[in-house]
Symmetry: C2
Subunit: 288 residues, 2 copies
């Protein structure tokens, strides 16, 4: 496994890879490090489907709306590299910020209405920063396929849209959210939780599951679905729901009445840690 911190070394390696007779396909997993089994599932999928697997580890300053979140974002490079090695990754690209942004970009990728709700409404500029760094990484790595977790559903929908709008020559694959046995979606930010907070953190998944049950049982009124789901969140000082919304899964626009597949997504503050999760819900009678 090669670990590269510079763009020029990345290019040297990738040029050598592409020049091989058996070059084949390049699969790419962009990450911010602090890898967990959710990333493991992305890498395993890339490994199974592609000839060459590239993982990037880059905590992109442009996508953080709060500097405190950026400052305390977990950095665990050595264990990340060990995990990449154990998953058979060929190349890890782990640039410093000054290498990625030699000059501060003036270009901004405005993701339009897909960024108006859910996390986009609460994290100003977040998805613009995601769009920019993902496009930049795609241009640097030039993969055939790129893998993203469905946990970040809005990010995935936005990246799919940017790829379509700009005809980016990469296939986007979404991979199912990996959860702890009690339902908590894996997240690098889970390591910030105290044991007491960790016990409370499942409330988000429970709220989403309540929404899924209600929709599956035939409830179509979104206001009723949401207020019912929110009852799953204990009224304690350490928990604050930032949002819980029901949107269509492609345009990410709010839905008032469920008549087709919807995305139910939420963000929950647990102490000073912000967690997100989502479930895709089929209305009653959709499956035979």
């Amino acid at each position: 496994m090669t670990v590269s911190g510079t763009i020029s070394e990345l290019h040297t390696r990738l040029t050598a890879t592409r020049a091989r007779k058996t070059a084949g396909t390049i699969g790419f997993v962009p990450t911010m490090g602090a890898l967990h089994a959710g990333h493991g599932a992305l890498i395993a999928r890339a490994r199974a489907e592609c000839d060459h697997v590239v993982v990037s580890i880059f905590v992109n300053p442009l996508q953080f709306d709060r500097s405190t979140d950026f400052d305390r974002y977990p950095q665990t490079l050595e264990t990340d590299l060990a995990m990449c090695r154990s998953h058979g990754v060929d190349l890890v690209f782990a640039p410093a910020s000054a290498e990625m942004y030699r000059t501060l970009p003036t270009t901004r990728i405005d993701v339009g209405r897909l960024g108006n709700h859910l996390c986009g409404r609460h994290r100003s500029g977040h998805f613009d920063g995601v769009g920019l760094v993902v496009l930049k990484l795609f241009n640097l790595v030039q993969p055939h396929v790129a893998y993203f977790g469905e946990k970040d559903a809005q990010q995935l929908a936005i990246i799919r849209r940017i790829v379509t709008d700009l005809s980016v020559p990469v296939r986007i694959v979404g991979v199912s959210t990996v959860r702890d046995p009690d339902g908590l979606a894996l997240s690098s930010r889970n390591q910030h939780l105290s044991p007491a907070e960790r016990a409370l953190a499942t409330a988000l998944y429970e709220a989403l599951e309540a929404a899924r049950r209600a929709i599956g049982e035939g409830t179509t009124d979104v206001a009723a679905i949401v207020s019912d789901a929110l009852r799953q969140v204990p009224q304690v000082a350490d928990l604050r729901v930032e949002y819980l919304e029901v949107v269509d899964p492609v345009e990410l626009q709010p839905v008032d009445v469920v008549s087709d597949t919807v995305l139910v997504a939420g963000a929950l503050w647990v102490g000073t840690t912000r967690l997100i999760d989502n479930v895709l819900c089929e209305p009653a009678g959709d499956t035979p």
Copy 2:
């Protein structure tokens, strides 16, 4: 020469090109058609430097701020194709708008401060549309080198910046403006000019040349340079200067005092036709 109107045919052709043992480099000249000798210079440069030359002909609706300008933009496909053939172009990509934008993009490329002055101040959204279509064409064609005219200086600077900011794997080459013997910069819009308007149209170049002379002779006060230059434009009803500005050539920000190379750029309305032009000026004493 292959002419392709669909993305899938473009990809089939380009895949075949890349698969050849002697694939070599792809040079790309994006145009809106209505080709003239200025485009000819771009294509000739691509032909001289690259193994394979691709020209796109696409009048991008997203970059027009006035629908009247879009509606009357000259469309001369047959003569364009003849010119491409005579220049040894390998592949012309001439998609319909519905082929390029199967769904209307929600993504917007905001070019930041480089779009705040010159044409950007007067043509709302123009460079966002240029940025989007150029990125999309780069992704579709995946050229090694792309050629742009220096006549559209702001466009060229913005494309260079987007390419840097997003690490787009293409080398951008600017090619000198081609002029009629009396100095008028070639432009597809020149064909809108009546003989009387054509005679007046040289005023823009004369104003820019006056600025260049003043700067070369040691004038550094931009207000004086501009007011002197504007005296070259006859005070007649058919002529209206939209702007004449002095900016630094990289960030395109206004300069008050000339101390380094500057870009002097202007837009002149001649009747109902809008023309642009620019010159790069060295201050006195810069050349030994």
